[in-house]
């Protein structure tokens, strides 16, 4: 088995209301100089050793990511 991480982030053109709210929270706590906050997610997969990056890409395109609003990066073979 190997571990794969998929990092899903919102596209730059898409407003992230969650990030805006969190930025407000940080400012409220007194953290100055926070330019912007954008929230994404990490999907951790454990896959068979012969799983290729192309196969993971297909998983992303078909289900894991909505490419209308999200970008993704794949990190292959991260050790658990």
């Amino acid at each position: 088995m190997k571990k794969v991480n998929v990092y899903v982030t919102l596209r730059e053109s898409v407003l992230d209301p969650q990030g805006v709210a969190v930025k407000g929270g940080l400012e409220h706590l007194g953290f100055a100089g926070v330019e912007s906050v954008r929230i994404g997610k990490v999907i951790e997969l454990q896959v068979a050793d012969d799983t290729t990056e192309n196969m993971v890409k297909e998983m992303c395109e078909k289900l894991l990511v909505n490419t209308v609003i999200e970008n993704y990066e794949i990190e292959m073979g991260v050790l658990a």
Binding site: L15, P17, A21, L63, N66, V68, I69
Partner: protein, 226 residues
């Protein structure tokens, strides 16, 4: 007309949808579980609201792979009526039957209230019983109804008259106040507001009823009964 009300794990407006077409309109309706693979004998498909698969990953993203959805796609490609309300709308965009995506509401709040909608296109099989630019009152109940699409898609929606309903006052941040859109062919409608909850005066209003009578009227002209 015979309607299929699709039931996913986590659907919770399926009874409302069934009640609207069966009890209020007096049409035929049957629940069709997500594991079914056939829509044989049905003339219309209704995808109800709720939280299919717990809204895990993204709203509607997992329901699109339910066995019944391949059949819903085939049904839609044949030009027959498919209506998705709320979570049903989210399922339709995730399944690629409608363009765009529904994101978290602008103010991050779940919004549950009755709103004014404007009928932007009354020449669809879902809206023919409304007047052009008519204002109707229909409830919304969603946390992720913030419609988004890129500029090219938005231009196409406008050019093809695919924007069926807009909000008079934008509750959730949707681009161009969009509340409901059709596909290019006009036989698939997705909308966040709940017309099935506005079919009886007793429950606060009847403005949603004409959406269903529009479909039935279309059916009377196009559906042939064996």
């Amino acid at each position: 007309m015979k309607f299929a009300v699709i039931v996913f794990p986590g659907s919770n407006c399926d009874l409302d949808m069934y009640h609207a077409v069966k009890d209020v309109l007096g049409e035929e309706a049957e629940y069709v579980f997500h594991t079914e693979t056939s829509l044989e004998g049905f003339d219309g498909v209704l995808l109800p609201g709720g939280f299919s698969y717990g809204d895990y990953l993204r709203c509607g993203s997992i329901a699109q792979f339910s066995p019944i959805m391949a059949e819903v796609k085939r049904f839609a490609e044949e030009g027959r009526p498919v209506l998705g309300v709320c979570n049903g709308f989210q399922v339709l965009v995730e399944a690629g039957l409608l363009p765009g995506v529904l994101m978290r509401n602008r103010d991050l709040k779940f919004m549950c209230k009755t709103v004014d909608l404007v009928v932007e296109n009354n020449e669809t099989m879902f809206t023919s019983e409304y007047a052009a630019q008519e204002t109707i009152r229909v409830p919304i109940a969603h946390g992720e109804g913030n419609y988004y699409c890129d500029d090219a898609t938005l231009a196409a929606l406008k050019a093809n008259g695919q924007i069926a309903f807009t909000y008079k006052e934008n509750p959730n941040g949707s681009v161009e106040n969009i509340a409901g859109i059709t596909n290019e062919a006009g036989n698939v409608l997705g909308m966040m507001p709940h017309p099935e909850r506005a079919v009886e005066a007793l429950l606060g209003g009847e403005d949603g009823k004409r959406l269903f009578t529009s479909i039935v009227k279309w059916g009377a002209r196009h559906v042939t009964y064996n």
